[in-house]
Amino acid sequence: DDANSVTLQLQWVTQAQFAGYYVALDKGFYEEEGLDVTILPGGPDIAPPQVLAGGGADVMLNWMPSALAAREKGLPVVNIAQPFKSSGLMLTCWKDTGITSVEDFRGKTIGVWFFGNEYPFLSWMSQAGIPTDGGEDGVTVLKQGFNVDPLLQREADCISTMTYNEYGQVLDAGVSPDELVTFKYEDQGVATLEDGIYALEENLSDPVFQDKMVRFVRASMKGWEYAGANPEEAAGIVLDNDETGAQTEAHQVRMMGEIAKLIEGSDGSLDVADYERTVATLLAGGSDPVISKAPEGAWTSAITDAALK
């Protein structure tokens, strides 16, 4: 029934990045709240905000830059919870390219994820005053696919990686950390909030929906707590839920370990300071900023307040 069923749209395929939700489902935390939760995995062509707009899901996970951009496009999504405290995004470069600082990016080729995930990078570059159109003293941007080959094949000097996934894959390919230089967005002061929980504004005005979200967030956070405390088991649960059967245990265990670092210090409620920093970063996007003015009503603490009571 409508009052108790929730459909969650992930922003990527089933992996430990979303362990909290799978654990909550698997351990019956949702059921305890009387919820009937369906988790929809994402993929390369799925824009979660679009699925939300089309009514295919009630809540989605999203990176805040992409969510705020959707808001400006006229799709009023609202952050109702923020399980991820810190950003796992970074650039990973070959050390032998001579890159040691941001200034060294000039003249280099850098792989970037697009699909709404390019905003943090573009903001960063514009703050650093580095053009991204491939000139002599700018960077050449490659739209990066879903793997780390551009780096391994040396088509790119740096690529985007997540601490919990792609970076590990570079290492798995036999590369030792000594050969690499990394730039974490967190360290560069351009971190933006990742993997928040978002719902549509209009739905949130409905008390039944609101109640549903409260229970959903509460159970999800319980799931995250459990996953953080039991990384191996959580990874196992993720593996059970991976219908492709192609994920490996070692990989998911490591990912879970790294994810645990990112959720550390979050009880699920949005830290306003983090939010402000994200907005400031995005507004600083130079000639073509991601958002043109500070958004209003893009988040609410109502849900987490009720959930964490």
Binding site: P44, D45, A47, P49, Q50, A53, G54, S66, A69, A70, K73, G74, L75, F114, F115, G116, N117, E118, T132, T140, V141, L142, K143, Q144, G145, F146, N147, D149, P150, Q153, E155
Partner: protein
Amino acid sequence: MAYVLALIVWGFGWWLNIRLSHSPRADTRLFSLLIPIIFGLTIVVMWEILVQMLDISAVILPAPSAIAARFAVSTHLLWADFEQTILKGAMTGYVLGAIAAFAVAILADRSPFLTKGILPVGAFMAALPIVGTAPIFVRWLGSDWHSKAAVVGVMVFFPILVNTVAGLKDSTAMQRDLMRTYGAGYWTTLFKLRLPAAMPFVFNGLKIATTLALIGAIVAEFFGSPTVGMGFRISTSVGQLAMDMVWAEIIVAALAGSAFYGLIALMEKRVTFWHPSQR
């Protein structure tokens, strides 16, 4: 209400087209252009009506007017994407794929043994889904248009191959016997009889391949590209929920594809004027 209005528009458009297509001038070039345009316009108007009146979110389906507006202000961007994807990626791949298919068809045709050997392998290649081949070619040839051309080449290869092979067998027994009475050799028979007889089939393959070429070049960009190109723009814009831009690119693709197809169809008319389907 919206549906009723849309239906009325549809009815009117269809009525107009029935009138036009049965008019004595239906076969003139003007009418051949006008009729599909009216058909398209009917759909566009229905689309606009439905989007406006049912209040469909622009994030899901933008109104044609919004798409047109976006198109108008983005022509330079669209042109750059067109150049990258169609002119460099798709065309190169199409030409290379077609030449390769032609060469292999003629090779395969030299002996039943090779035909039997190559066709299944060709069918095998045709079924290599772009989702799998694109990342591999991007890995091998880099993110720029070269990998896109390779993807396109592989995609267009099979339809052209199959059709050419079938076409080369399409001459009648009597036509072949005539060549035999002349003691004509393989190449003479090929050039004087079998290639001309094969042309209706070859063009069939070339026509199917035009649309594949476009799809291939665009979709392959989803798996890695420079920051220009129609596929790049589409996937990026979907991520940004800029659906008007997505549709503007789709329109470019449709225009380019139709023009490309039209060009091949025109050549077909010129070359296979003698075939019953052209008379």
